[in-house]
Amino acid sequence: MIQPAQRESGTASQRLSEEEKAMRKMNIYTSAIKNLAPLVVLGMVCGAMAQNAKTRYPKMASVDQYLMADREAEIALARSAAPESIARNAEVLVLGRNGFETAVKGKNGFVCIVGRSWTSATDEDYWDPKVRVPMCVNAAAAHSYLLRITKITNLALAGGTLAQVNETMTTAIAKQEFPPMEPGSMCYMMSKQGFGGDSAPHWPSHLMFFFSDTDPAAWGANLPGSPVVGIADSSEHLTQFVIQTQRWSDGTDDPQAPPHVHP
């Protein structure tokens, strides 16, 4: 169980280190904003969050507000993260009171879920009950990245605050209670539906790639003109790369992508 007092522990140098990390992340986000503004929130997954962020949602809403009453609607929303050719054979998880549970068995290794605020929105929106972010992870990510998502979800449903969840995850990862990112881990986030929170309501269609302890510079990420946004979180030993795609999962053009008109 997370002890609130733990948040106050740590030396001054450790606290400074946290502030420096937060500042560094903010610089990355600023760079990312110039390239791919809405994707700035992606770095917030798995605790890549500044500790002192102001929040519009200061406390947890009732659990019911995070759930989707219509199970079939949640399944459809989860599947909308990837083209139907992938999603129709994917496993689908839906959120229950105690965490994600299997709603549909899959057969192609992909797993589709609707992420909630604690894994899929900015710090400010950590408790926003309206957040619904569909994603379909491939098998490699299901074996590694998704484990973190489901764990964070469990912690949040139990009332874990942003700081508490961050600390718990950092400690667990340091103890190697979670595997490193499996090579080839990636996911589809191509849904035109969903809601990313007040800070980034509608994300562009994109793919994500997950690595352990990889310098974003190695992919040329976050540089002017680069199609790659990269966010590294050393405490989580996680690097996420984002590449925007031209179309939504239903095949229509994403208007946030540059015009794609043949001469």
Partner: protein, 249 residues
């Protein structure tokens, strides 16, 4: 009208991807190839400054201006500009692609390519060896044999995780097919099945191809070669920042 235009680019892009072997619907082995043998060496060479400029155009300036630049000389690739960011930019030729590509000897192919540090360390040595062999007039079979021997003797490195490259040049010529070009990123992996990334699924922006041979019929020739599966993700802009659809062909 807009749908028609989008359809055109999709078709052109798809044709291009097919040519890259991004589907397994490769042409039959006995199909007549338009390039049955190596062209004269000089047809593969470029004017030095033009080659440097084309190589750099593979990636946004923010990456390529600090990259090492290679150019193709009579003995193979050589360093023209020493970089500082561990990226390496070059102009790939057709004979750097899959051995069973029917444009393998196409001298028109000028594929601007900026490899990231992992690819520069683990994929580029293969390019170096192949280029040396080609410029020495070696046959495809001899090149393949040399590559296998080099792997067997550990003279070529294992593929590094995270190896990828930028191919976003508006000025590249990638194939005789379709629109000849497409801005994209490539990822070199040990993933065994392209379906693990959703490659080839209808509507997916990801395609894949084995690195050495497009056709599954060529698998016997794979003996001695490390499996490498290359994924391609199309991107929305050329390296100069203009949208992909604005390229005049």
């Amino acid at each position: 009208m807009r749908q028609d235009k989008v359809g055109t680019i999709v078709i052109n892009s798809f044709a291009l991807l097919v040519v890259f072997g991004m589907t397994y619907q490769a042409r039959s082995q006995d199909a007549t190839t338009p390039y049955p043998k190596m062209a004269p060496v000089e047809q593969y060479l470029m004017e030095r400054n033009a080659e440097i400029q084309l190589a750099r155009s593979a990636a946004p300036d923010s990456i390529s201006r600090n990259a090492t630049i290679l150019i193709l000389g009579p003995q193979g690739y050589e360093t023209a500009v020493q970089g500082t960011n561990d990226f390496v930019c070059m102009v790939g030729r057709a004979w750097g692609a899959a051995f069973d590509w029917d444009e393998f000897w196409n001298p028109k192919v000028k594929a601007a390519d900026c490899l990231n540090p992992q690819a520069a360390r683990s994929v580029l040595p293969i390019f170096y060896l192949r280029a040396r062999m080609v410029m020495a007039g070696r046959s495809k079979a001899e090149i393949l044999s040399a590559v296998k021997a080099a792997f067997e003797k550990k003279q070529l490195p294992d593929l590094e995780t995270g190896a990828m490259d930028y191919m976003m040049s508006k000025s590249a010529y990638l194939t005789d097919q379709g629109g000849h070009n497409l801005p994209h990123l490539m990822f070199y992996t040990r993933v065994k099945d392209g379906k693990d990334w959703g490659s080839g699924a209808a509507g997916a922006p990801v395609m894949s191809s084995p690195y050495w041979f497009f056709s599954p019929n060529q698998q016997p020739q794979m003996k001695g070669l490390p499996p490498i599966l290359v994924f391609l993700v199309a991107v929305t802009n050329w390296s100069d920042g203009t949208p992909a659809g604005e390229h005049n062909e």
